[in-house]
C-alpha cells in the first residue's frame, strides 16, 4: 500500500506545464532571433530593392532605388553592412557600376562624419585612412565612368569638394573649381536640373555665397528656358522663401517677374505681385525683407499707379517702409493713406507714426506737434491718442515749457482712467521731475538732445541699429529688443560701451550695460523705444524703433 502511495505522489509533468515550458523557450529564442534579424518588412524591402537594382538597365532609373538604399542603411548607421551589400552587387549589372562606386564613397564619407560625431576615435583613426582612400578612389572612378551629362558625375564632384573642404586640405580649391566648371558644363548639356540645385544648395550651406548665387542663377535660367515656366519658378521661389533663404528667393522671383509676369496683362500680374510683396513684408513671425517688398510695391505702382493700392495695401506698404527704416517714404505713405481713406481703421496709428517720424527722425517738430495735437483732440481715447498727450508733454518739457507739459500730462492722466498703466507711469515720472525741478531722466534727455538739437546731427552716430524679435506683439507677450550687435573693435580688450535705453521700455528695467533685453507690454498701442550708444569717445549711435502692441 505504501508503494502505491509513493507511486501516486510522483505525478508526471502535466501536459499543460510542458507546453508552457516549450512556449517560454520558444519565445525567448524567437525574441532573440527577431532582435538579431532585420524585421521581415525591412528584409522584404531590401529584397525588392536588390531585384530592382540588378534588373534595371537604364541608368536614369537607378537614381531613385539607390537613394532609397542609401537611406535604408545610413539612417541606422549600418555602414559596414551597407558597404558589403554594395560590393555584393558588383558584376551583377553593368549599369550599376558607377553607382556602386559613388555610394561606397558616400557611405564612407557619412561614416567618417558619424565617427567624429560620436567621438569614436579608435575606429576613426584606425580605419580612417582606408576610408578616405575609398572615398577618393571611388569618386575618381565615378567621374571616369560617367559623362558630363550624367547627374552622378556632378554628385561625385560635389562629394569630392565637400570631402576636401571638410578636411581643409590643399585640394579643396581645385575641387571647387572643378565642380563649378563641371556644373556649368552640365547645365548646357542636360535636362535634369536637380543636380544643379543640389550643388547650389551645398555651396550656400558651406558659405560659398558668391558661387552659390551663380549656380542658382544658372538653375533659374534653366527653368525658364525649359519653359517649365510659371509654376515651377514660382514654387522654387516660394520654397526658398519658406526655408528662410530670402536672398535666393528674391533672385528667383526677380527672374519670374522679369520673364513671366512682365508678359502678363496687368490685371493678372498685379495680384501676383501683391502676393509676392506680402510674402516679404514683415509679418508677426519669420524672416522678412521689407526693402524687397518695397521694390515689388514700386513695380505695382509702375504698372497700376497708386490706384492699384487699396487701404490694406497702402497700410502694408507704409508699415514695410517703416520697418525698413525708410522713414521719409514711410511717412509719405501714411499721409497718403490718411488722404485716400480718411476713415481708415489705421488712422490713429498712421497719425501717431507720422508724428513720431517727424519728430525723432526728420527733426520736423512743427509737423510732429500738429499730428500729435490732431490725435490729442480726439474724443475716443485710443492708445495712440493717450500716447500723443504724453509726447506733447514730453516735447514741451524738453523745450522748457513745464506749465504746458504739466497740462498735457494731467490731461493724459485724466483721460486714461483705466488701462494705459505703462503710459500713465511714464507721465507720472515726468510730472515728478517737474515737481522736483529735476531735469528729464538722463537717458531720455540724451536721446532728445541727440535727436532734436540741430548741432547734434552727426553722420557717424550710426552704430546703433535697433532690432526687435517681433514687429507686432500681443499684450503680455515677450519681445526681445537688440541694439544691433555692434561692438567697438577691440579684440582682446573689451571696451566699455554703454546703452542708454529710454521710451516705452515695457516691463523691464534695461540697464546701461545691456546690449539687448526682453520685455513685454500690458497696454496696447504703438510703443517707441529709444537708444543712445555711448563709448569712451562719445555718442556713437542713436536709433529708435516702433512696436505695435495689439
Amino acid at each position: 500500500m505504501i508503494a502505491k502511495s509513493v507511486i501516486h505522489n510522483h505525478k508526471p509533468m502535466s501536459r499543460f506545464f510542458k507546453f508552457f515550458i516549450l512556449t517560454v523557450f520558444l519565445s525567448i529564442f524567437s525574441v532573440h532571433y527577431a532582435l538579431a534579424k532585420p524585421p521581415v518588412r525591412d528584409k522584404q524591402k531590401l529584397t525588392a530593392l536588390t531585384k530592382q537594382l540588378i534588373e534595371t538597365k537604364d541608368q536614369q532609373k537607378l537614381y531613385a532605388p539607390f537613394a532609397e538604399l542609401d537611406d535604408f542603411y545610413c539612417a541606422e548607421h549600418k555602414y559596414q553592412d551597407y558597404t558589403e551589400f554594395l560590393k555584393s552587387l558588383a558584376n551583377k549589372n553593368k549599369a550599376t557600376e558607377p553607382f556602386i562606386d559613388y555610394y561606397i564613397a558616400s557611405c564612407r564619407y557619412q561614416q567618417l562624419k558619424y565617427l567624429e560625431e560620436t567621438q569614436d576615435w579608435d575606429e576613426y583613426f584606425t580605419n580612417g585612412n582606408s576610408y578616405r582612400d575609398q572615398i577618393t578612389s571611388g569618386l575618381k572612378s565615378v567621374v571616369a565612368k560617367t559623362t558630363p551629362q550624367d547627374p552622378l558625375n556632378i554628385y561625385a564632384r560635389l562629394l569630392k569638394w565637400r570631402f576636401h573642404k571638410d578636411q581643409q586640405d590643399s585640394f579643396q580649391e581645385t575641387a571647387l573649381d572643378d565642380l563649378i566648371s563641371a556644373t556649368r558644363d552640365y547645365v548646357g548639356k542636360s535636362a535634369d536640373n536637380n543636380p544643379v540645385k543640389k550643388v547650389a544648395d551645398e555651396l550656400f550651406a558651406y558659405g560659398e555665397k558668391a558661387k552659390a548665387k551663380e549656380i542658382y542663377r544658372l538653375y533659374v535660367d534653366k527653368i525658364i528656358s525649359q519653359s517649365q515656366g510659371d509654376d515651377k519658378l514660382k514654387d522654387t521661389a516660394r520654397s526658398f522663401c519658406k526655408e528662410g533663404n530670402l536672398e535666393f528667393s528674391e533672385v528667383v522671383y526677380d527672374a519670374y517677374i522679369e520673364k513671366v509676369l512682365k508678359l502678363w496683362p496687368k490685371e493678372k500680374s498685379i495680384p501676383a505681385l501683391i502676393d509676392i510683396a506680402k510674402l516679404f513684408a514683415p509679418q508677426d513671425k519669420g524672416p522678412s525683407d521689407p526693402l524687397y517688398a518695397e521694390k515689388i510695391f514700386k513695380k505695382i505702382e509702375e504698372l497700376g499707379g497708386k490706384e492699384a493700392f487699396d487701404e490694406e495695401l497702402i497700410y502694408l506698404r507704409s508699415f514695410c517702409l517703416e520697418k525698413a527704416k525708410e522713414y521719409d517714404q514711410a511717412r509719405e505713405n501714411y499721409i497718403y493713406l490718411l488722404e485716400r481713406y480718411p476713415g481708415t481703421k489705421y488712422a490713429d496709428e498712421a497719425n501717431f507714426k507720422i508724428a513720431v517720424i517727424s519728430a525723432y527722425i526728420l527733426k520736423d517738430l512743427k509737423t510732429a506737434k500738429d499730428y500729435f495735437k490732431l490725435l490729442a483732440a480726439k474724443t475716443t481715447f485710443s492708445p495712440q491718442v493717450i500716447a500723443s498727450l504724453y509726447q506733447l508733454g514730453l516735447l514741451s518739457q524738453w523745450e522748457g515749457d513745464t506749465l504746458k507739459a504739466k497740462e498735457y500730462y494731467n490731461n493724459l492722466l485724466e483721460k486714461s482712467q483705466a488701462g494705459f498703466a505703462q503710459t500713465r507711469a511714464l507721465a507720472q515720472e515726468r510730472l515728478k521731475e517737474i515737481a522736483e525741478e529735476k531735469p528729464i531722466e538722463y537717458n531720455l534727455k540724451t536721446f532728445l538732445d541727440a535727436s532734436l538739437k540741430d548741432e547734434s546731427v552727426k553722420p557717424d552716430m550710426n552704430k546703433a541699429d535697433l532690432k526687435t524679435s517681433l514687429y507686432r506683439v500681443k499684450k503680455g507677450e515677450t519681445i526681445h529688443i537688440d541694439s544691433g550687435g555692434y561692438s567697438l573693435e577691440a579684440g582682446c580688450m573689451q571696451v566699455e560701451q554703454q546703452y542708454l535705453w529710454s521710451g516705452d521700455i515695457g516691463k523691464t528695467q534695461a540697464s546701461f550695460d545691456q546690449a539687448g533685453f526682453d520685455t513685454s507690454y500690458t497696454d496696447s498701442g504703438t510703443k517707441i523705444i529709444n537708444l543712445i550708444m555711448v563709448s569712451p569717445s562719445g555718442i556713437i549711435g542713436r536709433d529708435i524703433c516702433l512696436i505695435d502692441v495689439n
Partner: protein, 458 residues
Amino acid sequence: MSMLIQQVRLSTWMKLSTNNQGQINKKQGTDRLRKIGFFGFLCSVFFLLILLIVINCKPSRKVEIKKLKNGNFQLIVSGKPYIVKGVCYNPIPIGENHEYDWWSDPNKPWLIDGKLMQEMGINTIRLYQVHDNPQEVRQVIRDMYELYGIRTILGDWLGFWEYPCPFYGDQQFQERITKEVLEMVSLYKDEPGVLMWILGNENNYSCLGHVQPWSTEEIDKEPNPQKQRFMRSKIYYSFVNDIARQIHQIDPNHPVALGNGELVGLDVAAQFCPDVDLVACIIYRGKTFGNLFKSLRATFDKPILISEFGADSYDAFLKKEDQSIQAFFLESQWRQIYENLWNNQKGAGNCLGGVIFEWTDEWWKHNQYDPQSWKVHDTGSNWSNGSYYFDIKAEDNKNMNEEWFGIVALSDQPENVTPASAQTLDKRKPRKAYYVVREFWKQPSLDNKRGKKAGRSR
C-alpha cells in the same frame, strides 16, 4: 706478404723513431710549445674580441646630448638618437586635489596609463616633483620602463612654492634645496628608466616679481629696477648652475635641464648658468612656437626641450568641448618641434622634443580651495591667452580652461578593473588629440599643406 710489408714499415718507423728519438723529441717539444703559445695567443685575442663586443653590445645606460658638426643638438639614449615624445603626468582622480598620493594608489593608475601611452607612442613622462617614498617612486619608474619602455624625467621645484617665498638670496635656503636635489639624484640615478633631471619650472618669473617675488637687502638698495631684475636673475641662475655642477659630479649619466618660463631671463642664464646641459621651457604661444628656436640660438645656445605646451579642449566662447581644435593645435605644435630637430636642415636644429601638458584632465584646478568643485568638471577659466584665438571672445576674454588640458579625458565611470580599494580608477577616454598625435608620430609630415588627414572638422 702484405703482413710482412706492414711489419717492415712498422719496424722502419720504430727504428726511425728510436734513432731520431732525441732529435725528434726535442723538435716536437719546441713545436708543441709554439703551438701552445700560438693557440694561447689566439684564445686571448678571441677572448678580448668577445669582451669588446659584449661591452659594446651591452646597452649603455648613459643619456647624453651630442653637438653635431653642424651645431645641431641630438639627444642620445643608450647610444641611439632619442626624440622626447612626452607627457606631463599627474594622475589625480576626480574628487581629489594635488595633495592626493597617487603613488600609493592601490589601483596603480600608471599601469593603465602606461599601456595607453605605449599604444600612442609616448616614450617619456615628466614628474614635476618626486614623492617622499623612494620605494614607491622606484616602482613607478620601473613599471613604466620595464613594462612599456617609457622613461621618466624627474624634477624639483627648487622650493619655488614655499611660503612666504623662495629665498634664493639666502645661503641656507640654497643649501637646503641643493641637498634635497642631490638626495633625489642619488636615490634614482641608477634607475635605467630615468631620462634626465629638470631644475625648477617657471621659477624665473619670480626674478621679475611676477609671481612668488623675493629679494635681498642689496637688491632692495638698488634704485634701477632693470638692474634689480638682473641681480635677482644672477643669483637664481648661479644657484641653479651650482646645483647642476654638483649633480654632474655624482651622476655623469643624465643631463641636467634648466626649467624656464618662456625665454625670459636666458640672456642672464647665458652668463651664469653655462653648466646646464639644456633648457626645458614652458611655452604657451598657441598653435606654433613662433621664433622660439632661433631666438634661443641667439640668446643662450643650448638645446631645448619644450617641457610644457599644449591646448585645452574646451571652447569657452561656444561653451562646449572642442576636441578638434585641441588636436589641431597639438599637431601644429608637434610639426614645429619636428621642424627643429637635429635632422631638419631648414630648422634651428636645437630641439630635443616635447612634453605635452598634460596626460589627463585634473578636475581640481579651477578652484583648488573648494573640495566640492573637485568632483565637477568646471568649465570656468581664470586666465586669458589671445593665441588660443578660437575662444578668445569668451566673457572677459577668459579662455584658458585649466581642467581641460588632458589629451585623455576622465570619466566618472570606472575602468574595467577590479578595484583594489574602495576608490575605483576613473575610466580613461582618449581624446582626438591622442589619436592625431599618434598618427603624426607614425608619419611625421612637415608639409601641413599636403592632404591633411586629421584637420579640424566642420
